[in-house]
């Protein structure tokens, strides 16, 4: 079984539009994952007709029993996350669940309780199974949740006899991106010809290289600035990275999002051919 992750560094370059199109082109033969658990949008295009919900609890949280507490202040001195207020209440938003207060409290006034940090879902769509999630607001552990849903997707793909898992990755280069790249066969980096797009692509490519994930590049809205597109060509050529496609700036991408469908369902032959070529090259790169 193979896994592909689509990332970008910079947000808003078109990852989700592309992933939804790939999934539609595959004719239900992949298991798809929305790995952007902060702002999951893939289901807005794949439109599940049934969904099963599961709870995710990524960490624990401290609670102080004010009857046992004698206000010695040790917990407040030790807490590096400033999570304990002057009134000895634990601020949920700041508590990282490290348990130091629990172990250190001389009066055993602290207890650790697991907290529900989000939900994850197995959904059925017209394009096959989609696994997605919603991390609770202000929650930590996005990396753990991405790891969990990627693992579930691989298990399901095994059960459904499917050979491919495709992950719509989060923006940035931090913890959830690293989680979305674990055990992946190939990463597709979607960029755009802007200084920000190029800068962020270079950083996320460095992360792929560090973790030994082969990366390919696709330029979205290449005709916004052809000079900068050429700069991307030069950069990729120098770093021995293949550019497997270029897509034009076209209002059809926005229209498809507004209609809630993968752009390939819009029936624009020119765009469909371009996306199908990128998808085929991506599959070839997976081996």
């Amino acid at each position: 079984m193979k896994t592909i992750t689509v990332i970008s560094g910079k947000g808003g370059t078109g990852k989700t539009s592309l992933v939804a199109s790939f999934v539609a082109l595959s004719g239900g033969e992949v298991v798809s994952v929305d790995g952007d658990v902060d702002a999951a949008n893939l289901s807005l295009l794949l439109k599940p007709f049934s969904t099963k919900e599961y709870k995710f609890s990524g960490s624990k949280e401290a609670f102080i029993d004010t009857e046992k507490c004698n206000r010695c202040d040790l917990c407040r001195e030790l807490c590096r996350f400033d999570a304990i207020t002057e009134g000895y209440c634990v601020e949920t938003i700041s508590c990282e669940g490290c348990s130091l207060c629990y172990y250190a409290c001389p009066r055993e006034a602290v207890k650790m309780e697991s907290r529900q940090s989000g939900n994850w879902y197995i959904s059925q769509t017209n394009y096959g199974t989609l696994i997605h999630a919603r991390l609770g607001i202000a929650e930590d552990n996005s990396g753990k949740l991405v790891t969990l849903i990627s693992k579930k997707a691989r298990e399901l793909a095994g059960k459904e006899n499917k050979d491919l898992v495709i992950i719509d990755g989060p923006p940035g280069i931090g913890c959830p991106v690293i989680a979305a790249l674990a055990g992946v066969d190939v990463a597709l980096v979607v960029t755009e010809p802007t200084l920000s797009g190029i800068h962020d692509m270079a950083r996320v490519l460095a992360v792929c290289k560090h973790f030994g994930v082969p990366a390919l590049v696709c330029i979205n809205r290449y005709d916004l600035d052809e000079g900068l597109s050429e700069d991307i060509d030069t950069f990729c050529c120098k770093n021995d990275i293949s550019i497997i496609g270029k897509l034009p700036l076209d209002n059809i991408f926005v229209k498809a999002v507004v209609s809630g469908i993968p752009v390939t369902e819009y029936g624009n032959k020119r765009i469909n051919k371009m996306i199908a070529t990128i998808w085929q090259k991506l599959l070839d790169a997976c081996g």
Binding site: G11, D38, A39, L44, S59, A138, E139, G172, I173, T194
Partner: protein
């Protein structure tokens, strides 16, 4: 003086465009502009001030004194982040998983653990007469951005108008940037993606108790559901920026629009006035 943060649930909606142009439009007063999107900082591509100082930022990670360690395994037991593993005659430290909470060193029965600093990124500082600009830059392959975001925010000089460019999302990096600010500007786009993520970002600012206003970017595309959501929830829409090929080209090249088109200078000054008015009204 207002401490203003520019955030969004969805990435790529135009946070950096808004922060940069707002800061430059207010250049008649002293402004500080902090880029807290440390995973992918972009403000420096638009504000081309020379970097005057680069400060490494580190987090404390455990270091084991092998002569004192009894290999009892208690440190691995108490570590909530699985950053330590104790074998028969060695201790493995996975520093990229360490949150720097200090549990292991404090609780080690043999006092065999001290802490050493591990650099996770830098703060780059660039000053000019009217603009104090700094940004955080996370080293690639580092997982945890909040400690660096908090370090950038510690640069805030009081009594100066502050604009913070936040990372996208609603989890710990975004919270680290938004928490403690006076007012949050949420930048979105009028599409189902923009609306879905605006709802989450709005829940985040409500949870943090921070007043918020909305900027709709590419306002001439998509549908009007974002405006509908804002009016249903009494969230003021403070500015609309239509998609324009010329604007997009300027953005691509790192050219702030207020330096090229005087009408935008006025629009961003008006945005600031609208923010101040709404902030004082909501306070």
């Amino acid at each position: 003086m207002i401490n203003l943060v520019v955030a969004s649930g969805k990435g790529g909606t135009g946070k950096t465009t808004v922060s940069v142009n707002l800061a430059l439009a207010l250049s008649e007063q002293k402004i500080q502009l902090l880029d807290c999107d440390v995973e992918e900082p972009n403000v420096h591509l638009f504000i081309k001030n020379k970097i005057k100082e680069s400060i490494p930022v580190s987090i404390p990670v455990p270091s084991i004194c092998m002569a004192t360690c009894s290999f009892c395994g208690y440190c691995a037991e108490v570590c909530a982040f699985n950053a330590l593993a104790v074998l028969a005659d060695q201790v493995l430290i996975y520093s990229e998983l360490c949150h720097g909470c200090g549990s292991c060193s404090y609780l080690c029965p043999e006092k065999a653990i001290t802490e050493e600093n591990r650099t996770i990124g830098t703060i780059e500082k660039a000053y000019s007469d009217s603009l104090y600009f700094a940004y955080g830059c996370l080293n690639p392959c580092e997982a945890m951005s909040p400690p660096l975001i908090n370090a950038v925010k510690k640069m805030v000089v009081p009594e100066v108008v502050t604009i913070i460019d936040a990372p996208p999302g609603t989890s710990c990096p975004a919270i680290a940037a938004v928490k403690g600010c006076d007012y949050c500007l949420l930048v979105t786009e009028p599409t189902p993606f923009g609306l879905h993520d605006l709802k989450l970002a709005y829940l985040m600012v409500c949870e943090l108790g921070i007043p918020a206003g909305v900027v709709i970017n590419r306002s001439n595309y998509g549908n009007n559901e974002v405006s509908g959501f804002c009016s249903d929830h009494n969230i003021p829409v403070l500015m609309e920026i239509p998609f324009d090929y010329h604007l997009a080209r300027l953005y691509a090249r790192g050219e702030p629009v207020v330096l090229h088109a005087p009408e935008w200078l006025n629009s961003f000054r008006n945005l600031y006035q609208a923010i101040i008015k709404d902030w004082k009204g909501q306070k």
